[in-house]
């Protein structure tokens, strides 16, 4: 039989936007935090058989990202796109993804990245799990199948947690949990020349316009502008060893490593 795995992915903005966000295939890329989720799904499929479907909500330019996922080895791509979705916050997005996942039922697993590289909220995965009333483990490091479901390892703040999950359930993956594969030329050729993407609008999901887009979004972005940060260069004194010690101490203190 094999598993039916859905990976929810996002096309993110490559460069910081100025005022308004224009999404095209040139200005967007697959959210780097989604790559480990795709890789985990593809490895599970290779080990246990089944299919992997990539699901994305976004404008038509997101089709590029779905094709990239297909170039990695994903079997199906589904794009939920509708003018009514413009302005959706994370809750509205989760509402749409939950409806799309419902339509894709029955599935065994639904994966997410931990967060998106452009808006960085980390809301969408957990919110979608709540809306579907499915169990979810976030920041998973490794997974293996058990007789009754899935064994999941989660490393966080120096602790190692192990969970057993039933099917269906949902996961977000630690960005460093796995090294995502590179896109091979043959995969790119097949995905972009022959890969078909299923397109759904709001009416396909039986959703009212009032629960999505700006109307369905309790949060609102009031303005968007480029943040200016000042960089300063500092030279450390001492011997090479002392400098390394000092550098490590500062990186640890600032929480950048460790």
């Amino acid at each position: 039989m094999g598993l039916k795995i859905i990976v929810c992915i996002k096309s993110v903005i490559v460069n910081p936007a100025n005022q308004s966000v224009v999404r095209t295939s040139d200005s967007c890329e697959l959210n780097p935090f989604d790559r480990p989720a795709l890789e985990q799904a593809l490895r599970m499929k290779e080990a246990m058989g089944g299919t992997v479907t990539a699901l994305s909500m976004g404008p038509e330019s997101s089709a590029f990202t779905l094709h990239e996922a297909m170039a990695m080895g994903v079997d199906h791509g589904v794009l939920v796109s509708d003018p009514a979705l413009v302005g959706s916050d994370t809750l509205a997005t989760s509402t749409v993804l939950a409806a799309a996942l419902k339509r894709l039922e029955p599935f065994d697993l639904a994966f997410f990245g931990t967060r998106s590289a452009d808006s960085d909220t980390g809301h969408v995965g957990p919110q979608t799990a709540v809306l579907l009333d499915l169990p979810m483990v976030t920041w998973a490091h490794s997974i293996e199948s058990s007789e009754t479901g899935l064994l999941v390892e989660r490393r966080i703040d120096g602790f190692l947690e192990r969970y057993e999950l039933p099917f269906p359930s949902m996961l977000t993956f630690h960005p460093n949990s796995v090294e995502p594969r590179d896109l091979g030329l043959s995969g790119i050729n097949g995905a972009f020349e022959e890969g078909e993407i299923q397109r759904w609008g709001l009416s396909d999901l039986d959703l009212s316009p009032s629960v999505v887009g700006e109307k369905g979004s309790p949060t609102r972005v009031l303005s968007l502008s480029r943040a200016h940060s000042t960089k300063k260069c500092e030279f450390l004194d001492g011997t090479a060893e002392e400098q390394v010690e000092e550098l490590l101490r500062r990186l640890l203190d600032s929480g950048l490593i460790g």
């Binding site: 094709h67 091979g184 043959s186 972009f192 020349e193």
Partner: protein, 380 residues
């Protein structure tokens, strides 16, 4: 330029760039200095299809178009010109002649391992007395029973030090002039097959360019590619396509030099301002960017013509001539913008400058390409 690309082309650029920056970027300087061939990266490239870019899927390749091809070569060369050279020569003049002129048996035997990068191909044409003078080939392949007795002294063989499958241009009929040249496939390991010392080159040093010699090697008759006497036709057909790849390599080197020139010009401060604010430097930046883009567009046009099945001999000659000359000029300007630091190995532009120089020489010199272009124009 990006305006003309398909989403597939863009995905190719993005994925090859990411791979090369991650895998080749950190070692590009070292493999240039040590003149070493990065097998680990080459193996990964093989798995990603870089060694069978336009080979049909049925023979283990990626089945890509020519535009995607030039993008792959440009992106590899932008990071490491020696590897860009390895990949383009392997694909265009190593594998393509087997696809275009090989029998079904020959294709099945040699192409799949070449397309997967498990074996490396080489084009053994140049001899001490034959390069631009294509008919000057002295190597011989004398039919003797069920084999050819081959004697050859091939020099400046790109990939020579690592090549497994070599196309040897030799005279099967010593008295037939240009029509007496044929192509025989020689595999490394054949008795009498000797790889000479690696050339200590000025640039593209990660490519193991060497001589390859055959001393009384007995090669089976079924190793003949096409028919006897077809050698020059096979060679010139391969080079028509091959020089699109060299043009793309030259564009990649020039693009890298442009990026480094711009980066340095914005950082380096003199007379109280970044040198990018000085008009003399901006003139160079403008010339560099314009020449890179013009070279890229000419290369793109020849690739599109090839994809459309239209003649592209003159156009690919124009692309190769312009791109190689532009690459030399652009890398020279990048050195100039860097001043004394540009002449130091502390910065990568001196490498680009050395790498660019040879693109005006191999796969047809600039002078030969002037002749090809003029012939094409005058015949119209």
């Amino acid at each position: 330029m990006d305006t003309f690309l398909t989403d597939k082309n863009r995905a190719v650029r993005r994925s090859v760039r990411a791979f090369c920056e991650r895998e080749l970027g950190p070692i590009a300087k070292e493999i240039d200095q040590e003149a070493s061939f990065p097998w680990e990266v080459v193996e990964k490239m093989g798995k990603l299809g870089y060694f069978g870019i336009q080979v049909p899927k049925t023979l283990g390749g990626a089945g890509m178009d020519s535009v995607s091809y030039i993008i792959v070569i440009e992106e590899i060369s932008r990071v490491c010109a020696g590897l860009g050279l390895c990949v383009t020569v392997h694909n265009s003049v190593g594998v393509y002649p087997l696809l275009a002129f090989g029998s079904e048996e020959q294709k099945k035997k040699w192409v799949p391992p070449l397309a997967r990068g498990e074996k490396i191909g080489a084009f053994c044409f140049t001899e001490p007395n034959a390069g631009s003078d294509t008919a000057g080939i002295e190597a011989t392949a004398i039919r003797n029973g069920n084999h050819y007795l081959v004697n050859a002294n091939k020099v400046f063989v790109t990939n020579g030090g690592v090549a497994d499958v070599c196309l040897i241009f030799a005279r099967t009929d010593p008295n037939a002039g240009r029509k007496g040249i044929s192509v025989i496939v020689a595999e490394r390991g054949t008795p009498g097959f000797v790889v000479g010392d690696l050339e200590d080159l000025c640039g593209v040093r990660s490519n193991p360019v060497s001589s390859i010699r055959l001393y009384d090697s007995q090669l089976p008759l079924e190793n003949l590619l096409g028919k006897e006497g077809m050698g020059l036709r096979i060679g010139l057909t391969a080079l028509d396509a091959g020089r699109i790849g060299i043009a793309a390599q030259a564009v990649g080197i020039a693009q890298a030099a442009l990026e480094e020139g711009v980066r340095y010009a914005k950082q380096r401060r003199q007379f109280g301002a970044p040198i990018a604010k000085h008009q003399a430097v901006t003139m160079m930046i403008a010339d560099m960017a314009t020449q890179v883009e013009a070279a890229r567009l000419l290369t793109f046009r020849s690739a599109v013509l090839r994809d459309q099945g239209k003649p592209f001999t003159k156009e690919s000659a124009m692309a190769k001539l312009y791109a190689s000359e532009a690459s030399s000029k652009v890398t020279d300007m990048a050195v100039q913008i860097h001043g004394g630091y540009g002449y130091s190995k502390a910065y990568p532009v001196e490498r680009y400058y050395r790498d660019a120089r040879v693109t005006r020489i191999y796969e047809g010199t600039s002078e030969v390409h002037h002749l090809v272009i003029a012939r094409g124009v005058l015949e119209e």
